[in-house]
């Protein structure tokens, strides 16, 4: 059972996805049942695994491919954190997508790829070695491309080409780094504290391998200057944007950085090679640059996209600072940012779908027309700024504390600057939405009776923002993401 459970988690989205491909467009009820059933089943299986991992049970599925190289699915605390994030947000996004795409064409194709995309993410999260990681990393690229170009417009195709070019380039780099590493070490297994130290490999070679691997995953993590695909991909429907930013792609990149630093090189060994400081500086530059770019975007989703570029680099910064407290900040931000950003994208989708509002300049008085959606947006925006008691504060608190702990005080200034810029690009939206008079008519208003929008569109952002509020307010309670991440950090830094 311990070997098959990871495979069952994978199958819980793979099998519904394959069936959905074969369903006709009219089979709405069956498609919805498969989607939601798979998502709920995955969460149930994950809860079982979390309880087991917490009590020291090992879950591993191993399939030998060639001598010395296995296909490995392994559930440890770190992978379960990411799998849980993806699974819970997949459920929320599925509910949202059902409402968002109601009546639109090619839904079977959309939901089929959607499930495959989550399968790839889950596989990537549970990968037990770099080879398995690479396989799912590429699978993720190929399964998200049809979602990016789902609308079939020229802009969508252009964005898709850009996405494919960027991510395949990243995949090639990751492949090169993996092969190079294997040729030197003869293993690719992820191990707590890394598998490279003490093998007598030339440090300069290791630094180059580190750079190649980080650039490979950095494309998906949208690290500067490899971030160009993300704002372009905003032409995709809102559920896909949510998927790219919060559930799968960007997070997969950030998760890859975590894996490479902790389980390939080992954080102490990486720090001794002197590669963590340049990575931290690169993350800091990305944070400030992307926040500055976000400041001047009128398109709401583009503004949120640049915000993602900035916020995901918090994770990289936390890992690269190379201290236990900063690691807690970085890892917990993986979860926190996912929930906050998905809320913001759900809300942006609601504005577009209900009123035809796509730009910040069109949002005057929108809070009075859609108070619940705008309320969720407001709380998530305050979370992004880092205001307590939202979860963003918890992440920034640990990042700042961790930076001070290891004497890298400059990182605190970066966090402060980023918060200032976040406030500068979110607060004007809130002011115009809540306090400016609404226009006489909206660009493309749809009526939902007395409700501000459809329930399927309203419930997901309200639920995700409620999670961000409660996890921020009761951050120190057992069972919160912070609690789980402290459990992970204790393992990664255990003597």
């Amino acid at each position: 059972m311990n070997a098959w459970l990871p495979l069952m988690v994978l199958a819980s989205s793979l099998v519904p996805g394959m069936i959905i491909f074969m369903l006709p467009e009219k089979a709405v009820a069956l498609r919805t049942t498969l989607n939601l059933g798979g998502a709920v089943l995955k969460i149930v299986l994950l809860v079982l695994m979390m309880i087991g991992v917490f009590h020291g049970v090992e879950y591993e599925f191993r399939l030998p491919l060639v001598p010395g190289l296995d296909f490995v699915l392994h559930a440890d605390a770190l992978s379960l954190m990411f799998v849980n994030l993806s699974a819970v947000l997949w459920l929320a996004t599925t509910v949202y997508a059902i409402g968002y795409l109601e009546g639109s064409p090619h839904r079977s194709r959309f939901f089929g790829y959607f499930s495959l995309c989550v399968t790839a993410t889950v596989g990537l999260a549970m990968a037990g070695n770099l080879l398995t990681f690479l396989v799912f990393y590429e699978a993720l690229t190929l399964t998200t491309y049809p979602l990016v170009v789902h609308r079939g417009t020229e802009a969508a195709r252009k964005a898709g080409r850009s996405y494919l070019a960027h991510t395949l380039f990243g995949g090639v780099l990751l492949l090169a780094g993996t092969v190079w590493l294997y040729s030197l070490t003869g293993t690719l297994e992820f191990v707590d504290r890394g598998f490279i130290a003490g093998r007598g490999i030339d440090p300069d070679v290791l630094r180059m391998i580190f750079a190649v691997l980080i650039l490979g995953v950095g494309v998906k993590a949208a690290i500067l200057p490899l971030h160009g695909w993300l704002p372009q991909a905003m032409v995709a429907p809102a559920p896909v944007s949510a998927l790219l930013h919060a559930v799968a792609v960007v997070k997969a990149g950030a998760f890859g950085i975590v894996r490479i630093v902790f389980d390939v090189f080992g954080v102490e060994f990486a720090a001794s090679l002197g590669v963590t400081l340049p990575l931290a500086i690169l993350a800091a530059v990305t944070i400030i640059y992307a926040s500055t770019r976000a400041l001047f975007q009128d398109d709401l989703k583009r503004r949120l996209a640049f915000s993602t570029v900035s916020q995901v680099s918090y994770i990289t910064l936390g890992v690269a600072i190379a201290g236990p407290i900063a690691t807690i900040g970085g890892l917990v931000h993986l979860v926190h940012q996912g929930f906050m950003k998905i809320t913001l994208f759900f809300c942006a989708g609601n504005f577009a779908e209900t009123l035809g509002v796509h730009k910040v300049s069109e949002m005057r008085g929108i809070g009075r027309r859609m108070p619940w959606t705008m309320g969720a947006f407001t709380l998530a925006a305050f979370g992004m700024i880092g205001a307590p008691p939202m979860v963003g504060f918890i992440s920034k608190w640990y990042l700042g504390l961790g930076a001070l702990e290891v004497g890298q005080d400059w990182a605190v200034l970066v966090l402060a600057g980023s918060s200032l810029l976040n406030a500068a690009y979110f607060l004007p939206i809130l002011r115009t939405a809540w306090f400016d008079p609404p226009p006489e008519s909206w660009p493309e208003e749809r009526s939902f009776g007395r409700k501000e929008t459809a329930w399927a569109l309203l419930i997901p952002p309200v639920m995700t923002v409620a999670a961000t509020l409660s996890w921020g307010l009761f951050a120190s309670m057992p069972g919160t993401p912070l609690d789980w991440v402290q459990f992970i950090a204790a393992r990664k830094y255990a003597p």
Binding site: L295, L404, V412, L420, L473, S476
Partner: protein
């Protein structure tokens, strides 16, 4: 559930209820807010000291809600002010600030009042600050916009400073005060509390907002900064007390100069609040050692300032005269009491000067009271004019409790009559102008212009220059891989070189140089 826990949650629950049911009968909001606001006043008055630990809250595991004298003073101030404006909102025809924002701000101030542990105080300060900004932003008209924008920038910067201070104190716990963190904390409080030199926005805002919002602006930003400071500031070395006193004196002088040059009652009140803030800035460094002693005079000072906008509801008569006399005396005595308390820790020269900050603040408040128009009996019913009694009673109670804790002497009482007399004389002597000599809130004008210039430049850089650079670079990079283009370039170069007569001369020169070098 403990009553202390229910206190900040009740306004949030009411806010949620209002958000869910936006359509309501006129004046309902006022009565509900009044009911919610009466709750903290009752708890502060009737409940025994209490403390509940909330280890699961936020990040430090040291969060708690505490009902101590500082919390009582803060609850009385904030609860009383919200009660007063809620009663105003029940009047027909009064402009209605956004009730959800009003309740969120109330919840923030209550959390701030009761909080123990830095992050929780920080959360309370944030909710109070942005909630009050939302109240201001809900005003009809656009007069508040410029001032509101300035304030929100100050709030954000202040929040970041508080965040840095809390991080620093957690990362480097030490018994000795860490000077940079202390300075940052004081700066943060100055920025969010409209304390000079960060007071410019208040004059511009107070002049344009409705009466309920004016009552809040007269006391809440400064109150949140002062009570927040009383909770987060550590014990301070005497040098900081001295520097804060000197800054407070400078701020009081500045506020006096600008306040005397005003015409309107509200803008004069803004400078009176700034003067009071300057005095409290001098007292804030004592927060680490004498927080409880400072809480009651702070209540008296702040509640006195909040009475002034309500004076406009009172028709001429004994009731109004009584209100004015009591409020000025309370403010003067409380200011003198605070100044005397701080002066006891200062070198003699500074100790001698500090009470003049109290004199200046009372002078300005007197001027604001005299400049406030008297209501006509037909326009205002006696019921509404009594609303001013709520902050007045709170101010008097604050002074009484301050005096009970630390009996007054001559040093703490002389400032009141002197300040009031100077205020009356100034009112009599100043010419009746139609325009103020110093525009309200002109302080931030140059700063705003500088910021907007920088923003404009950055926008141009981001929108145009960076994009151009990127396009040129990418075009050049693409060109590097274009074999045909290279071939064309080489051909062109070849043609140019052949066609250029100087090429032959150049080659000749090179050859001759080479021959010369070889020969040598």
């Amino acid at each position: 559930m403990s009553l202390l826990l229910a206190l900040p949650l009740l306004p949030l629950a009411a806010a949620l209820w209002f958000a869910a049911r936006p359509v309501r009968a006129p004046s309902t909001a006022g009565w509900i807010v009044a009911l919610v606001a009466a709750f903290p006043v009752m708890v502060a008055t009737l409940m025994a000291p209490d403390r509940i630990a909330l280890p699961d809250l936020l990040v430090m595991r040291d969060a708690a809600l505490v009902l101590d004298p500082v919390a009582r003073a803060a609850l009385l101030l904030f609860g009383g002010l919200w009660l007063a404006i809620a009663l105003l909102l029940t009047r027909p025809g009064v402009s209605d600030p956004p009730v959800v924002a009003l309740l969120v701000a109330l919840s923030g101030t209550i959390a701030l009042s009761l909080a123990e542990g830095g992050p929780m105080v920080y959360a309370g300060m944030l909710a109070a600050g942005y909630g009050l900004y939302a109240v201001m932003a809900g005003e009809r008209g656009a007069g508040w916009r410029s001032a509101g924008s300035a304030w929100v920038v100050l709030l954000v910067v202040s929040d970041l400073l508080v965040f840095e201070v809390l991080l620093s104190s957690t990362a480097h716990p030490t018994t000795d005060p860490y000077l940079p963190a202390l300075v940052m904390a004081l700066l943060a409080l100055v920025l969010r509390g409209a304390i000079p030199p960060a007071h410019g926005w208040l004059a511009a805002a107070l002049g344009t907002v409705s009466r309920p919002t004016a009552v809040l602006l007269a006391a809440v930003p400064l109150g949140a900064a002062v009570f927040g400071g009383l909770k987060i500031l550590p014990p301070t070395p005497p040098t900081i007390v001295l520097w804060c006193s000197l800054l407070g004196l400078g701020g009081a002088a500045w506020a006096t100069f600008a306040g005397l040059a005003q015409v309107e009652a509200r803008t004069t009140l803004a400078y009176a609040v700034a003067g009071t803030g300057a005095l409290l800035l001098a007292a804030l460094p004592l927060a680490g050692t004498a927080a409880e002693m400072l809480a009651w005079p702070s209540l008296a000072l702040l509640a006195s300032c909040a009475v002034i906008p309500l004076l406009a509801l009172q028709p001429a008569g004994r009731s109004r005269d009584f209100t004015v006399v009591v409020v000025l005396l309370v403010h003067g005595f409380a200011g003198g009491h605070t100044a005397a308390r701080v002066a006891a820790t200062l070198p003699p020269a500074a100790a001698l000067l500090l009470p003049f900050a109290a004199v200046a603040a009372t002078l300005l408040l007197t001027l604001a009271a005299r400049r406030t128009a008297v209501a006509t009996p037909e326009a205002e019913s006696p019921d509404w004019s009594r609303v001013a009694m709520i902050p007045l009673v709170l101010a008097a109670a604050g002074l009484l409790l301050a005096w009970l804790g630390d009996p007054p002497g001559f040093a703490s009482t002389w400032a009141a009559p002197v300040g009031i007399t100077f205020g009356l004389v100034a009112f009599r002597l100043l010419p009746g102008r139609t325009r103020p000599e110093v525009a309200p809130g002109d302080l931030l004008g140059p700063v705003q212009r500088l910021v907007s210039l920088m923003l404009r430049r950055t926008r141009i850089l981001c929108r145009r220059d960076l994009a151009r650079l990127r396009d040129r670079t990418s075009a050049w990079l693409r060109g590097c891989w274009d074999g045909q283009a290279w071939s064309r370039r080489i051909q062109r170069l070849d043609v140019v070189l052949r066609a250029w007569p100087a090429t032959s001369l150049l080659m000749l020169l090179v050859a001759m140089s080479a021959a010369f070098l070889l020969a040598k």
